[in-house]
């Protein structure tokens, strides 16, 4: 059991940074493998192990094979993502223009997941940090910026790093007033921040050019070669690289002392404080690190569109990001990744495709009335319906953490040990908690 951490090092290989494989939701993906094998082996050797112990052994075995399954799934997914531009062109989908914003939104969802999923702080105004990231880059590089007009134009790469840092700083600034708030109250205050920030950018006309927006915004470049908005494939790989870097960092954070402190705080603040966790510092780190990744996202998004205005960051963005996190499996990095891709595809690709398909149907005799139907207008309604269905059918998200699934099985092994009366009350408590947990 001592070799938990001495599994082969999981340093990233090439572009496959998330090569840590798919089961890494709980931050220690391969740990169970060695232990599980050992226990499983012991199980086959001695048949007379106690019932409870055998149950955990078989449970671990199931976990192991699942990890293998996840690894295969992940490899397929990674290859698909890496080869997507080729697939896209080969099959004539022409969706590269949609894929890039989807990836940016996935990056944002991962950042939000630090705040909401890991630390349990419900943030309804995350778009504020998205805006701050975007406007930081615009302010440093766009010709309308007073800074640039005075001759201080910044290189895009530098601006990208600055956006990361500025977003992190604003995470602390906007996080600080909320430290004493929880749940509903916190949500309301963050909601207000989400409204205040874009409005501030709208009204600071001298700095941001107000509603007219700013353009063009600095572009990524290699030497003298600049990445144009039309260079969709290089953009794709650039965003993918930043996404992979972010996943790597977030995964490591999750498995660290800080990640545990976040989870403990989410579970029970008073107990966490009594175990030596500094709540102020831990919360601010969650806000700050969560915001910093949206600094990346905002910078990439603004530069990719070459244009920024305050209307790109309205409330629906915050809500969509939150939906990505919840839909995918709150707290599970890989779940959020998939949730983000699904929601992004829904938002940027599928609704439009479905709308076009319905319109093409309307040329058939008798279906002419379909011409009046435009699904693009009912996007939010479809979106809401999908969310309601999801919460009814699978409240834990599409990809709940492997830990949760394993534990639902493990519960059966644990119960027979209890005193009957207590078992019932525990069972009731657990049921209650599941309902409550599903509501999150």
């Amino acid at each position: 059991m001592d070799d938990r951490r001495s599994t082969p090092d999981d340093r990233p290989a090439g572009a496959g940074v998330p090569a840590r494989e798919g089961a890494g939701s709980d931050g220690r993906p391969t740990d169970g493998v060695a232990g599980g094998m050992a226990v499983a082996a012991a199980d086959t050797v001695s048949r007379d192990v106690p019932e409870a112990r055998r149950a955990t052994a078989s449970q671990r075995w199931a976990e192991l094979s699942e990890q293998r399954r996840n690894r295969v799934l992940f490899a397929v997914f990674a290859i698909f993502v890496l080869a997507y531009p080729l697939i896209d062109r080969g099959l004539g989908w022409n969706r590269m223009g949609s894929m890039n914003p989807i990836l940016v939104f996935v990056l944002l969802a991962l950042g939000l997941n630090i705040v909401v999923g890991f630390a349990g702080l419900l943030d309804l105004g995350y778009a504020a940090f998205f805006a701050i990231g975007g406007y930081t880059v615009a302010f440093l590089t766009a010709p309308q910026s007073p800074l640039v007009q005075r001759g201080f134009q910044t290189d895009f790469w530098v601006a990208l790093i600055v956006a990361f840092v500025v977003a992190a700083v604003f995470g602390v600034i906007l996080g600080a007033p909320t430290l004493r708030l929880r749940g509903d109250y916190l949500a309301i205050v963050t909601l207000a921040f989400g409204e205040i920030v874009p409005r501030t950018f709208l009204n600071l006309e001298g700095l941001t050019n107000g509603s007219k927006g700013m353009n063009p915004i600095g572009r990524p470049h290699a030497g003298d070669v600049e990445l144009l908005a039309s260079d969709q494939v290089p953009w794709y790989y650039l965003i993918l690289a930043i996404l992979a870097f972010s996943i790597f960092v977030i995964n490591r954070l999750h498995g660290s002392r800080l990640g545990r402190a976040w989870m403990a705080m989410r579970e029970d603040e008073i107990a966490a404080a009594s175990m030596g966790i500094d709540l102020v510092k831990t919360k601010l780190l969650a806000f700050s690190l969560g915001a910093s990744f949206s600094g990346f996202g905002g910078a990439m998004y603004a530069s990719m569109l070459q244009f920024i205005d305050p209307f790109q960051f309205d409330f629906s963005i915050s809500i969509m990001l939150l939906a990505m996190v919840i839909l995918g499996g709150i707290g599970n990095l890989w779940g959020v990744l998939f949730g983000g891709l699904l929601m992004g595809a829904f938002n940027f690709i599928w609704v439009e495709s479905a709308a076009n398909w319905i319109r093409s149907l309307s040329t058939n005799p008798g279906l002419g009335f379909l011409a009046a139907v435009d699904l693009n207008n009912s996007k939010l309604m479809l979106f809401g319906g999908a969310l309601v269905l999801m919460m009814l059918l699978r409240p834990e998200g599409i990809f709940p953490s492997a830990q949760r699934k394993a534990e639902l099985k493990g519960a059966r092994a644990a119960i027979p040990v209890t005193v009957p009366g207590i078992e019932e009350s525990l069972h009731d408590a657990r049921q209650g908690e599941q309902v409550a947990g599903g509501g999150r």
């Binding site: 938990r4 001495s6 175990m275 966790i277 500094d278």
Partner: protein, 277 residues
């Protein structure tokens, strides 16, 4: 023996309610001290002041000579005071091992950047922490339950896990708030043994709130009795069992009349006398 914890005139007022009133109290190093009293006597409030969850309204708390008033709970934990809760407050959706690892938080040094880079020192520290956590789980009697979620553990095991988590903070003084509440006699006996081992093997000072009189009288060196926030008696278990004020607090005024002569015969304890109202 030196005192590890000392309070002087400690009071806590919630609006018009004086929950704890001018309590003077001392615990010696490596002793097992108990705090008893009827429901609502202010025991948990007293605990919460020591643990930093409440700020005292008046009076002083000192831990090894350091003033604790206004010190935050996490800092008090770093100083060497750990606690468990009356209503179990485990991190229920985390594994038993992770619960214990959270307890080690203040003793680990990994920085945020170090955790991302996973430097050799961080990896080594993390490995040692896990080994230590497994040991602690074994110590409290939860071997092989590392990966079970806290909320899926049986009730008695949850109480043990809370103790393991508190031990992980490397305390000198351990506060146990009703550690045997809701336990059957076997579980209670096993837990009492565990508390004895905490002192014998880990050199801890134990301060507990407990309603099981058999547990209190069996393991305590000193017993302090609170009633309506006021310390009414203090002494060895033997002295407390015969103390008229204690009997009155628990059973009512009339009850103290009969046993009183017996208590006098046994020699009225001197330290308790000052506490008499």
């Amino acid at each position: 023996m030196a005192s590890i914890l000392e309070t002087r005139g400690l009071s806590k007022r919630f609006g018009g309610l004086l929950a704890v009133s001018e309590v003077d109290f001392t615990i010696e190093e490596r002793s097992i001290a108990s705090l008893i009293g009827p429901n609502g006597a202010g025991k948990t409030t007293f605990f919460n002041m020591v643990a930093g969850l409440y700020t005292p309204s008046a009076g002083e708390i000192a831990f090894r000579g350091r003033r604790l008033n206004g010190v935050k709970p996490n800092q008090i934990t770093s100083l060497g005071i750990a606690r468990t809760f009356q209503n179990i407050r485990l991190f229920s959706n985390m594994s038993a091992l992770d619960n214990v690892l959270v307890g080690m938080h203040s003793r680990l040094k990994a920085s945020t950047l170090g955790a991302v880079l996973r430097t050799p020192s961080v990896v080594a520290e993390e490995r040692q922490a896990r080994e230590r956590a497994v040991e602690l789980l074994e110590f409290v009697g939860l071997p092989d339950r590392d990966e079970v979620w806290a909320r899926n553990l049986p009730y008695g095991d949850q109480r043990r896990l809370e103790i393991a988590r508190a031990l992980a903070t490397q305390p000198a003084l351990l506060l146990l708030d009703e550690p045997t509440a809701g336990m059957n006699p076997q579980e209670t006996n096993a837990l009492t043994d565990l508390i004895r081992r905490l002192r014998a093997e880990l050199d801890l000072t134990i301060f507990l709130i407990e309603h099981h009189m058999r547990v209190v009288m069996g393991i305590s060196d000193r017993v302090t009795v609170l009633d309506h926030g006021v310390k009414i008696a203090e002494g060895t278990p033997h002295e407390i069992q015969r103390h008229p004020a204690v009997i009155e607090a628990y059973l009512g005024r009339g009850a103290s009349v009969a046993p009183a002569p017996a208590a006098d015969g046994a020699g009225r304890p001197e330290p308790a006398a000052e506490a008499d109202r």
